[in-house]
């Protein structure tokens, strides 16, 4: 009799935990599974893509935490040496879009990684300075990226990541111009 109770009790606990866990994470799951699991959400705002995707890829908002995007938008007058100021209505709309979909505001393993900024210091301005990015690229030699005339910069994601524009950055979809697949 005691045995049966223990069995039923354990199964009950397990079932409850499973149901509770599913309910708590249901939103996250449908979002993540819909996106194919391991990328960041693609750029969904046409205005952002048009205004901010001409000199460089329109970086997905899930690549930086909201605090970083605020800093970027605050400093458009000197945007990495360029004057990238927008009309006020455009600037407001872009700022809202970026912060609402920032790395620390959405679900997904990649965004969670990008949201991990070092405890001290201001939020990084560059995706390429985030801890997550550095951890993923520290083995890529500079000569394959910065000194590669078809890449020029680590900020030029689509040069090597075949589906960067869609928010997909899987390692097995990397093809470095002049070199081929990343093999390690």
């Amino acid at each position: 009799m005691k045995r049966n109770l223990m069995i039923i009790g354990s199964l009950g606990v397990a079932l409850t935990a499973a149901i509770a866990g599913t309910l708590v994470n249901a939103d996250d799951w449908s979002e993540r599974l819909g996106r194919g699991g391991s990328g960041v959400g693609a750029v969904a705002d046409a205005r952002y893509r048009a205004l901010c995707g001409e000199c460089h890829m329109a970086y997905q908002p899930g690549l930086l935490p909201a605090a970083s995007w605020q800093r970027v938008m605050d400093g458009l007058g000197d945007h990495f040496g360029d004057d990238a100021q927008l009309a006020p209505a455009d600037a407001d709309a872009v700022r809202d879009y970026l912060t609402a979909n920032a790395a620390d505001r959405v679900a997904g393993p990649r965004s969670r990684g990008f949201a991990q900024v070092a405890g001290s210091g201001a939020a990084p301005l560059r995706v390429t300075e985030t801890r997550y990015f550095l951890g993923k690229h520290h083995e890529v030699p500079v000569r394959l990226a910065r000194e590669n005339p078809e890449v020029r910069s680590f900020a030029n994601c689509p040069a090597c990541h075949q589906r960067a524009e869609a928010g997909a950055y899987n390692e097995d979809e990397v093809r470095i111009p002049g070199v081929g697949r990343w093999d390690d």
């Binding site: 000199c55 460089h56 040496g81 004057d83 078809e150 890449v151 020029r152 910069s153 900020a155 030029n156």
Partner: protein, 134 residues
């Protein structure tokens, strides 16, 4: 064969025409500011003219990012992003919106030459890029 050529011209026509309208409108505005006549050869020379970047980066000209001439594809000097050719004859959607043209003159003259372009220079550029006659 001729039917295809006609069809393609008909399709490209409106795009080229809108480029024409935008450029004409802007050049008229430049003339009213005292510029003109516009010269493709002056535009070509300006296209190659370099200015020091001033922040330690290599000197750059229009050609640095936009390619040897307006029909070439280019690449952003810093980010590496590919840039479609500027010539409407090659990329029909180019130079079709006067606001966009002015925006990029404003940004890129500053970034390349460290100053605004004069109406004369802008008019010369537009003539050169559209491959039109002065």
């Amino acid at each position: 064969m001729r039917r295809w050529a006609l069809l393609l011209t008909a399709l490209a026509g409106p795009a080229a025409a809108s480029a024409g309208t935008a450029v004409e409108g802007l050049q008229a505005a430049y003339r009213s500011e005292g510029a003109g006549p516009f010269s493709a050869s002056r535009g070509a020379a300006a296209w190659q003219r370099q200015a020091p970047a001033g922040n330690g980066e290599a000197p750059r000209s229009c050609a640095t990012c936009h390619g040897a001439d307006p029909r070439s594809a280019g690449r952003h000097a810093r980010t590496g992003k590919p840039i479609e050719p500027l010539a409407p004859a090659v990329s029909p959607a180019r130079l079709s919106d006067p606001e966009t043209i002015e925006k990029w003159f404003r940004r890129n003259c500053e970034w390349t030459w460290g100053r605004a372009c004069t109406p004369q220079e802008k008019g010369d550029f537009l003539t050169y890029i559209t491959g039109g006659s002065p």
